[in-house]
C-alpha cells in the first residue's frame, strides 16, 4: 500500500491522496477540504482527523494554523437520536 492510500479520515475513509489533491487543486482552507471531500464529517465529528487536515493544509501552502479553530465545532458534539434531542431519556 502506498503512502498516498493512507486513510486520513477514518469515518469517511478519505485518503491522503484525495486530501492532497484537493488542497493542491483548490489552494483551499481546511473547511473547504472538509466540504469537498467529506473528511471530518463522519460520526466522530472530525475529532480524530481535524489536526491532520489542519497540518496538511498548512504544509501544502494553505492558510497556517491560527487562533481561530478552522473546522468549527457544532452541536450536537456527539451523535444523538431525535428521541434524545426531543427530551427522551436514552
Amino acid at each position: 500500500m502506498g503512502d498516498n492510500e493512507t486513510v486520513i479520515c477514518r469515518c469517511e475513509e478519505i485518503t491522503l491522496k484525495e486530501i492532497k489533491e484537493t488542497i493542491e487543486r483548490y489552494q483551499c482552507s481546511a473547511r473547504e477540504v472538509k466540504l469537498r471531500t467529506r473528511a471530518g464529517m463522519g460520526p466522530c465529528g472530525g475529532r480524530t482527523c481535524r489536526c491532520m487536515i489542519d497540518r496538511l493544509v498548512e504544509q501544502l501552502g494553505g492558510p497556517s494554523i491560527s487562533n481561530e479553530i478552522s473546522l468549527s465545532y457544532r452541536p450536537p458534539v456527539r451523535p444523538v437520536s431525535f428521541g434524545v434531542l426531543g427530551g427522551d431519556v436514552k
Binding site: 475513509e13 467529506r38 466522530c44 475529532r47
Partner: protein
C-alpha cells in the same frame, strides 16, 4: 481463565471474582464478566473486528477506547451508533456489527 485477561498484576494485584454472564455478538454467544465493556469483553474472547466500514466494507475495531473516535460503534438491541468501548455489558445483551450501505453515494467528488 483465558490468556487475554490480566488476572494477576504485579502492582494492582489479582482481580476480584466477578459474575460470569453471556453476551451475543452477531448471534454468537461469548462469555463476559459483569463490569466489562462490550469492547473489553469481546477482545478478551479474541474478537477484534467490531464492524465493517459502512461504505468501503473494511474491517474496524477499537481505536481510542475512550469514546472519542466512534470506530467501535455497534448496534445494541436495535439501537445504532453505540460505542462498544463505553457501554457496559449486560447478561444476554445482543450486539450486532452493523450493516453495509447498499450503494455507494460517492460519485462525483472533487
Amino acid at each position: 481463565m483465558n490468556s487475554m485477561r490480566v488476572d494477576n498484576h504485579p502492582v494492582f494485584g489479582s482481580l476480584e471474582k466477578r459474575k460470569n454472564i453471556t453476551i451475543y455478538f452477531d448471534d454468537q454467544p461469548y462469555a463476559a464478566y459483569e463490569g466489562d465493556t462490550i469492547a473489553s469483553a469481546l477482545l478478551a474472547s479474541g474478537v477484534r473486528t467490531l464492524r465493517c466500514h459502512e461504505d468501503k466494507g473494511t474491517p474496524r475495531g477499537i481505536y481510542c477506547n475512550i469514546g472519542h473516535c466512534f470506530e467501535c460503534r455497534v448496534r445494541v438491541h436495535g439501537q445504532n451508533t453505540v460505542r462498544a468501548c463505553l457501554t457496559p455489558v449486560e447478561n444476554k445483551m445482543r450486539i450486532e456489527s452493523g450493516i453495509l450501505a447498499t450503494a455507494s453515494f460517492k460519485g462525483g467528488k472533487l
